[in-house]
């Protein structure tokens, strides 16, 4: 912890960054994301097991967008998000100083993108046992059953868009769902309108989601959205041998062609 603070303090002191993105103590023993702009404030910077939120989200917010340099305390999920954002031209290496934190909570020092790629590949990606069980359950279903399952699963959605708001990959300035000429997705939250919204979101995340699970955590009605994107990532990995969040340069499975891509559906 002290090491993280030391790095953050130095970066601010040397004016290499104008803001350090991390966590501070919140109310009622909770933690909350915090922006530190002064070296002396760094004392408040904390990192503990509760700091699971994917703060890569804020890299695209105003505070960070306007800073010349940003440091971020980055768990493996955050690192993967950063790499994917870089691959999609949303952030540049010069600006971001990654203070790596391993899955065990140890400081991994400052990671440049190359080191971050290595870090991202070597850090384990764990699924919770209950998630695994749910995936197995869904995989055992027929296609029709699966569709019905998801229609049912989406039905409690109230279209609060918290999933979108918490997702670092949902950075579009104007979301599709807000386009009203033509109106692609109905605004009201009803059974199939919900399906349309979540399907669209899942398709937009296919091959891009790094599976941080933030969507599920933020969902007030507990829709297992993380499972949906996880299964999609898995499918993309199988079909295209491509995984999001491992490369800082463009590797998107669904919009890039390589000679080894399966073409049996064309030929």
């Amino acid at each position: 912890m002290e090491e993280i603070k030391k790095i953050a303090r130095e970066l601010l002191a040397e004016n290499k960054v104008q803001v350090v993105l991390g966590f501070e103590k919140g109310t009622a023993n909770k933690v909350r994301p915090a922006f530190f702009t002064k070296a002396e404030d760094i004392d408040k910077l904390i990192y503990n097991e509760a700091c699971i939120h994917n703060i890569a989200l804020y890299l695209k917010k105003d505070t960070c967008q306007h800073a010349k340099g940003v440091a971020i305390t980055a768990t493996p999920n955050v690192v993967r998000s950063i790499l994917q954002l870089s691959a999609e031209n949303q952030i540049t290496e010069e600006k971001i100083h990654i203070i790596g934190i391993t899955h065990e909570g140890k400081c991994a020092g400052i990671l440049d993108f190359k080191a971050a790629e290595e870090f991202s590949k070597t850090q384990p990606k764990g699924l919770k046992p209950e998630d695994k069980a749910l995936i197995e359950k869904i995989q055992a279903m027929s296609l029709e059953e699966r569709f019905d399952y998801w229609v049912e699963a989406f039905s409690p959605c109230i279209k609060c868009y918290a999933c979108r708001a918490s997702c670092p990959m949902c950075y579009c300035g104007k979301c599709n769902v807000e386009t009203n000429n033509p109106q692609w997705i109905p605004v009201a939250s009803h059974k199939y309108g919900n399906v349309e919204w979540h399907m669209m979101r899942a398709m937009h995340l296919a091959g891009r989601c790094i599976n941080c699970g933030e969507c599920n955590r933020s969902c007030p009605v507990d829709i297992p959205l993380n499972i949906l994107s996880y299964m999609l990532s898995d499918f993309v990995l199988d079909e295209f041998d491509s995984e999001a969040g491992l490369n800082s340069v463009f590797t998107s499975a669904l919009s890039a062609y390589t000679v080894v891509d399966k073409e049996n559906f064309i030929k």
Partner: protein, 666 residues
């Protein structure tokens, strides 16, 4: 407020026999926004067009729907009519009630309803059409010809003789291609070299042609009329401007035992070499992989003997950039080697050769000076077996197509063999004799009747060697499918013609499509046989599919005609139905997020980066920008864009959506 005109065409009885046109017109008149609706017997006729023009003027129409045939034929006709009436031509839409209704359905209410629905959709669409201006792009009147075989030579000469500049790129040290390797040509038996060499020299001497041999296309950017091409000119280790082609270096080179590619390994060449005596240009190259100097740092004997002092050991590859307006791909083909055949010994028997090797052997300039000799011991083969369809029409080996040229060249080989070995017997195992072509069947009859070629209908199952003979085991399906065993001295496999090495990479560089066998694909198998799907890039010769010489030459002249047409004016007019990225007011400027996921999906490399900067020059945002000269309006970028920031003029999301809406809410 929209004022749409609807014009229902009877197409004689083509439509009206099935669709109740007056009824459709009546219903359409009541669609919201329709100001005028009429039906007429032949809308495309002169009076029909006048009807349209007058209606536009009289009813002050803001858009029209012509409900008639497929837009392919008559959309331009009605657009012209619009323009004549002073309406932007892109405010005209066609509703296809012929191919989509009358030709495919029976007369009845449901068919009428479908016609009405189709018209309704187009009315809704045209209400949202925008006036568009056609796009003009300049044309660079230089053509790039990739490949210097007979197709490339023909294309280059035809284009150059039409007065345009040509840049020709050839991978080998000399132009000439496979045709320069051939002995005689079917069906006339005239000498291949004799007819080709003068054409090769013409290429070298034509002032309009710039020739780069030992060179390859490195990259291609740009679009029709405006390509930027980088050419890698590999180091020949020779100063071409100084070399006088005396050939002293090649005779003095101590390395003499390198298998000669031109002779397909049946002869040797030195490390500094000209591929064949008639090579154009007659400038040697140093094969650095085999040259003693490059291997051991010692030798330089060629340099010692070179009088004009043209040897340059330190020469490096050179990248040449050229601007061209059109590209012709003439990269030719290759043949499968004998090691492709497990049942014929994986190529381990020296006396089993492929057709191209036989050509070299039969050629007067070849390794045997035209004598037919067994590669193993130099003896004259008295019994020779030709195996047609070796690898072709063989799905199990992955080649299901017919290589087309083998029937003819095998008949030619049998004739040539008989002309050289009078007491020999030639057996030909074949499946079908495919000799469709002028004087082709007569030629194969000549092989059979005059030169006594023994045609056996059946395939060869295996060949093995025993006591210096090749035992060929085949069958005769015309004789009760009996097994035929021939003790042959030599076997020639008419191996399949396949796409040239590197064809796939080249196709990817040029963004043209290719088939599963890596042959380049034409834009339309019948009506656009020499065009690719990419405007300004054309195809000629066997890079498209196996072709013989006359076909290759014809295709090349076709390409030259196409390119000359393209070069006939200094500007190209293109339809403005292309994609664009939306632009909105500050501070967002566009809903584009600059993720550039659209960039790799664009088959035409049309998507560029556009930086939006503030007055101080600081970058605010990077956006996608679609180059209107390159975009072909395919819409792939529209589909991939998550924020729906890309749209296509003439087919906007709004237009498409309203069409669907009109259909669902009818």
């Amino acid at each position: 407020m929209a004022r749409i005109g609807v014009f229902i065409c009877h197409c004689g009885e083509n439509i009206s026999a099935t669709v109740d046109c007056p009824k459709v017109s009546e219903v359409a008149a009541k669609f919201p926004g329709v100001a005028y609706s009429v039906d007429y017997k032949y809308m495309c006729s002169d009076p029909g067009q006048s009807l349209v023009v007058n209606a536009i003027k009289e009813h002050k129409l803001t858009g029209i729907v012509v409900s008639a045939c497929s837009p392919r034929m008559h959309e331009p006709t009605f657009r012209r009519a619009c323009a004549e009436a002073g309406l932007n031509p892109y405010l005209c839409e066609m509703a296809n009630i012929r191919e989509h209704c009358s030709w495919v359905h029976e007369k009845g209410d449901r068919t009428d309803q479908k016609a009405i629905d189709v018209v309704r959709m187009m009315v809704e669409k045209v209400k949202r059409n925008n006036a568009l201006m056609s796009i003009k792009v300049p044309v660079t009147k230089t053509a790039l010809v990739i490949g210097g075989g007979v197709a490339g030579i023909q294309a280059a000469l035809d284009i150059a003789n039409a007065g345009h500049k040509v840049v020709m790129v050839e991978r080998e040290p000399s132009i000439g291609g496979h045709m320069s390797q051939l002995s005689e040509t079917f069906p006339t038996l005239d000498c291949s070299q004799c007819i080709l060499t003068p054409r090769m020299v013409e290429v070298a001497q034509n002032p309009n042609i710039t020739l780069y041999t030992y060179a390859e296309v490195e990259s291609v950017e740009g679009f029709v009329g405006n390509f930027n091409v980088k050419i890698r000119k590999k180091a020949k280790s020779i100063d071409e401007t100084l070399c006088n082609g005396c050939g002293m270096c090649t005779t003095k080179c101590p390395q003499k035992k390198i298998p000669n590619e031109f002779e397909l390994g049946m002869g040797n060449r030195p490390a500094i070499y000209v591929p064949f005596p008639q090579a154009v240009p007659n400038v040697p190259v140093i094969d650095r992989l085999n040259c003693t100097y490059y291997k051991n740092g010692k030798c330089k004997i060629c340099e010692k003997f070179c009088q004009p002092k043209a040897i340059r050991f330190d020469q490096e590859d050179e990248i040449i950039e050229v601007a061209v307006g059109a590209i012709s791909i003439c990269t030719g083909f290759d043949v499968k080697k004998t090691d492709f055949f497990p049942e014929y010994g994986y190529g381990k028997h020296k006396d089993i050769i492929d057709g191209l090797q036989f050509e070299r052997m039969a050629s007067a300039s070849g390794p045997t000076l035209g004598a037919i000799r067994r590669p193993s011991d130099g003896a004259e083969p008295k019994k020779i077996v030709f195996v047609a369809c070796a690898g072709s029409r063989d799905p199990a080996k992955g080649i299901e197509y017919c290589s087309k040229i083998c029937c003819m060249y095998t008949a030619k080989h049998a004739i040539l063999y008989k002309h050289k070995v009078h007491d020999g017997t030639a057996y030909i195992f074949y499946m079908d004799i495919r000799a469709a072509g002028k004087n082709y069947d007569e030629f194969t009859r000549r092989a059979i009747e005059e030169d006594n070629a023994q045609y056996i209908r059946g395939r060869v199952s295996s060949i093995y060697e025993r006591d210096g003979k090749l035992i060929v085991i085949g069958t005769d399906t015309l004789m009760n499918h009996e097994t035929v065993e021939i003790e042959a001295d030599m076997v020639v496999l008419a191996t399949a013609g396949v796409a040239n090495q590197g064809a796939e990479e080249l196709a990817q560089k040029l963004h043209v499509s290719y088939d599963q066998h890596r042959f380049f694909s034409e834009a339309h198998p019948k009506l656009k046989p020499v065009e690719t799907n990419t405007a300004g890039i054309y195809l000629a010769g066997a890079c498209q599919s196996p072709k013989d010489i006359p076909e290759s030459v014809a295709a090349a002249s076709g390409v030259a005609g196409k390119i000359s047409c393209l070069f006939s004016s200094s500007e190209l007019t293109r339809e403005p139905l292309i994609a664009f990225v939306d632009r909105i007011a500050a501070p967002d400027y566009s809903s584009c997020t600059g993720c550039f996921l659209c960039q790799p999906v664009c088959p035409y490399n049309a998507i560029e980066k556009e930086d939006i900067k503030d007055r101080a020059g600081n970058l605010i945002k990077s956006l996608a920008y679609i180059n209107p000269g390159l975009c072909q309006g395919c819409g792939t970028c529209v589909a991939i864009c998550k924020s729906k920031s890309i749209d296509i003029d003439g087919y906007t999301n709004q237009q498409m959506y309203s069409e669907v809406d009109a259909l669902l809410n009818s």
